[in-house]
Symmetry: D2
Subunit: 342 residues, 4 copies
């Protein structure tokens, strides 16, 4: 059994991790920490877990965490980087769902997150936990930076096009729509039901923290400096990311075959048939990314539709997928759920 | 392996049955019928099942169905009663999610459903599939009438009070709120998003078909003719039933203990702590009924809050629960999912 | 022109007051205060008002407020009672949308609001601003306590039954469903979209602050101490209150006629035809209360369905209705909007 | 008074027309037709209109319609073109909310709508009713083709850029999100609450009927053949269109000034301050189009955000705006409502 700790289990990625890990046949949940809720029975906060999880939130304790084989950080940025150095030093592997280790360029990280990084020396060893790109490195990684939700949907969508070298990478557009749970489980006016239901708006058009993360990923894939316009939108649903991606083709090939062949062995990427429009509900609660590729009116503009559940493939499901790879388990263990529909 | 057939798999109870049965370790899905969609790949209709179900909808065929160990009917009323006699005669067990065999009084059935019943001779052998009341009879049943969604939430909520004989049963009130999926997956104006979102209304106050079903169940429990006012409401959510039940206490006892003891051994009924307010989201996608009991301001009015997912404990999950009992499996097999939250 | 001030205009009742008053032909908006947003242009907070309102939030200033003919308080409880004594002394009339002056029994108020009342001497002169009951007193009132949203829907629904003396008032039940905007525009986890969408639950079953307010009103109407069980529910919509009311009839009369005759002259109460189910959307954005009365299965249980928009007839619209009456205007001025549908 | 008739008043644009016209000080509603609901009191279908509209749906009758000064068609395509020739011949002016007269190229119309046009000779005299472009022609028009919802938001958003000649018009992208009411008030599975809530997907990526309409408009504005990729999305809200528009700048100018100056005299186009993100809720129920223009990271990609209420500025409100212009009234008469928020 893999002894597992979770730091910061009171948010939406925390409760989703618990949902997935509670039924994982190789996992023993050992500790879950929360400064604000220490002492509270987890099920009192998340009644869906009644009868399945009997943990109590505890104060973060390095010894308890270091006794685990792997520790998940389901925290806002800046929390992981305070604890990770010691845990790594004591041999505990880390799967960080926050942004602390996602950017390899420390200066870029410090610019976008507006604070100094406290352990830049660990960044080089962090593996960006997108299995469809970095599966080999994940196997032996000690420190995983789980990708953000927007970056997961966007990079998987652009991946075959960029690898094939058939698009102009200077003017990529990612128009992405997110459900409200992406804003997290914290008191705010902006994310109130009365503010977000029956509403839709773009936000952070001037620059969102996931932009440099996506750029980094696409730069590595393309071997050049790509140009990307990224516009996130807040939409009135709880879960779901829908990325609508646009690029100019520099040559014409069979796009459907390209996508099908690229992802043929991927357990969690489903290329839909020609002419499909994947819906976010088709992946709700599941670890799947569904993709369709279009070339409307035979113009040279390619349109890729890529959907994920932001809390599963965009966070906690992908985190467990990384854990399965790291510990030599079948990659789909405990995360091959079927989406709930309707 | 249990060979399973499904008649009428194109509705919401059908796709939910598929979600549950596709991961059931003892089930082999053999046939799924639909007159309207015969020839269509199931996953083309329900893309959430891609990679998990490879069946094709077929025309109803008695021989194919009779070759199954058990056949589920996920159909509107009147379909099951046309096929059930032959299937039963050929030794196939039946789990009917429709209303055809729920009422033991044929005349009452014919009044509420406004048509003749075509196999009234089979009604006496039908077992009402509410395991918390009829578990023993279910074990050997050949024909199960799965309870309706409102009746499940309402009967489980009233059950301990009536068994204890501590309420006035002449003026029971069930104020029940349902999500829109209860209206089924069929074209209608009333259930359009633009008609039901940002809206709430009661309906069928003069009389809903679940009223005689609930009355029958409570009459049997109490041994008398109970009086019930049942007001269903349509609310803007996909899934969920919230029953708010009112009764006058004829004596004072420890209600919390009554409920906890009554359901102590039930795997799918969760009595919440004193003062709780169960939420429908806490059971969304799960087979659980969560219940809380209140006695506000120490008056003699008892208020019971009972929530289920109408498509799981209120339909397909309960149907699988019945199957597990009928075939001697662990009752929770394949249906001990954790609710998805948020 | 009536010079109008608003204290606390940053909440939902505040912006709704502005929407209504901005188009009122007899109103000059003079001042709107907010401690937290002083200096901010109102339209920067509420872009729907761009082009219609050019006020700036200011620090509360007694002189500026006292210069108004009437001041609305759209504040949490405890704010109005600090300012009202001086404003009244200086001749400004007050329409308080908060709870400070709703209960005539000071001790009862202090028990439910858990703090001392700072100007109990003013309570006797406060008029409870439900025009359908207190229209005459409102005309000359200096201080109006605008009813709460639940109390408005509930009292209007029970009113004809109680006045007619045809129900048993010892066991009244009010099962009431509210949209989320009733929780106000303030940061909270409970009212997040991700917490309330696709969810329904009861809350405060043990006792909600609107309970004593409703009891007070019904006691006055009936001339006795009524017994009421009041269960509020939070439902996934922005606006709307749906009260489902239950009582036992002590005699049989034509209920439809009773209701139609009782409200025949009321501009904002619409008794629906026999067999109707009023929907909250039919009053969304409007100052109307729609009511239907049922007697299911000819039992002696009467069921009343009463719907309002919690922010209009349940708050700001009713406040303007009071103002119209106080200042001798046509009662419907600026508030005879048609509900927006869909 | 302007005598007004409405053909096809049972849909969402119909009820919205009634909401607006019922309070129009210069309008006398004379006739509203519906084949399916002839004989029904309008308020029985749309209870929000109770007390405001007392019409009864009637069978379409040319004499009754011809007696009106203006007739609105709130019908699916193909209905207007059957009646318009005779009504025009008898001197009745026409405001057609359907698509019958939107495309000047008959062959193009027949290709996209897949049927012959029955009065192509009238197409040249149809005026495309977008006041911000065609105000002068509207004044004297006998036949108005009211723009579609997507085309209104998209054309207004691109208008200043194209008029200024500062973008590359060969690769325009319009990523547009719509509420579900755009699908109309007709029975369908796709638009059910249980199908569209908690879901988001693109649709008709291969080609939507609003594509040629937008192309026609932008071609006229630019004087060239523009290239446009148009991807509509269905989002879980009742009302609202959010167009996110992308273009490559061919020169750098002050975009904010460009937009502000272009629309400075427009009563229904609101250019938001620099850095804004207009929300669909800020125009819900109102005839306003709110626009913001961005140039993220100082790249040469311009991003325009343009929002409308699809049933108001995108349909019925714009239709009344046209009528006001045609009849020499103040353009804002009866349509200067403030959006309802929240």
């Amino acid at each position: 059994m893999i002894n597992v700790g979770i730091v910061g289990g009171t948010g939406y990625t925390g409760v989703e991790l618990l949902r997935l890990l509670a039924t994982h046949p190789k996992v023993a949940l050992k500790v879950i920490t929360s400064r604000s809720e220490a002492g509270m029975v987890v099920c009192d906060l998340f009644p869906n877990l009644r009868g399945h999880v009997d943990l109590v939130f505890s104060e973060p304790d390095v010894d308890a965490l270091a006794a685990c084989d792997v520790v998940f950080f389901a925290t806002p940025h800046c929390v992981a980087m305070a604890l990770v150095p010691e845990l790594l030093a004591r041999g505990t592997r880390i799967i960080d769902l926050s942004a602390d280790f996602r950017l390899q360029d420390v200066a870029l990280w410090e610019k976008w997150y507006n604070m100094p990084h406290t352990c830049p020396e660990l960044i080089p060893q962090a593996v960006y936990g997108l299995p469809e790109i970095n599966r080999e490195q994940i196997k032996s990684a000690q420190l995983i930076a789980v990708p953000g939700c927007y970056p997961t949907a966007t990079q998987l969508g652009f991946l075959p096009l960029i690898k094939a070298g058939i698009i102009n990478t200077t003017h990529l557009i990612a128009d992405v729509k997110s459900g409200v749970s992406g804003a997290g489980r914290k008191a705010s006016v902006r994310a109130l039901f009365a503010e977000t239901s029956e509403d839709l708006s773009a936000y952070a058009v001037a620059g969102h923290r996931h932009l440099p993360e996506i750029q980094q990923g696409l730069n590595i894939l393309s071997g050049t400096e790509i140009g990307l316009t990224f516009v996130p939108h807040l939409t009135p649903m709880i879960r779901g990311i829908h990325a609508t991606l646009y690029a100019q083709l520099s040559q014409n090939i069979d796009l459907q075959s390209l996508y099908e062949q690229h992802f043929v062995d991927e357990p969690f990427v489903d290329v839909m048939p020609v002419g499909s429009h994947p819906s976010t509900r088709s992946v709700r609660g599941a670890n799947t990314c569904r993709i369709a590729v279009h070339q409307p009116q035979d113009s040279n503009t390619v349109v890729v539709l890529s959907v994920i559940d932001n809390l599963v493939k965009g966070a906690s499901g992908q985190a467990v997928q990384n854990m399965n790879i790291m510990f030599g388990l079948a990659e789909t263990t405990a995360i091959d759920m079927i989406a709930t529909l309707p």
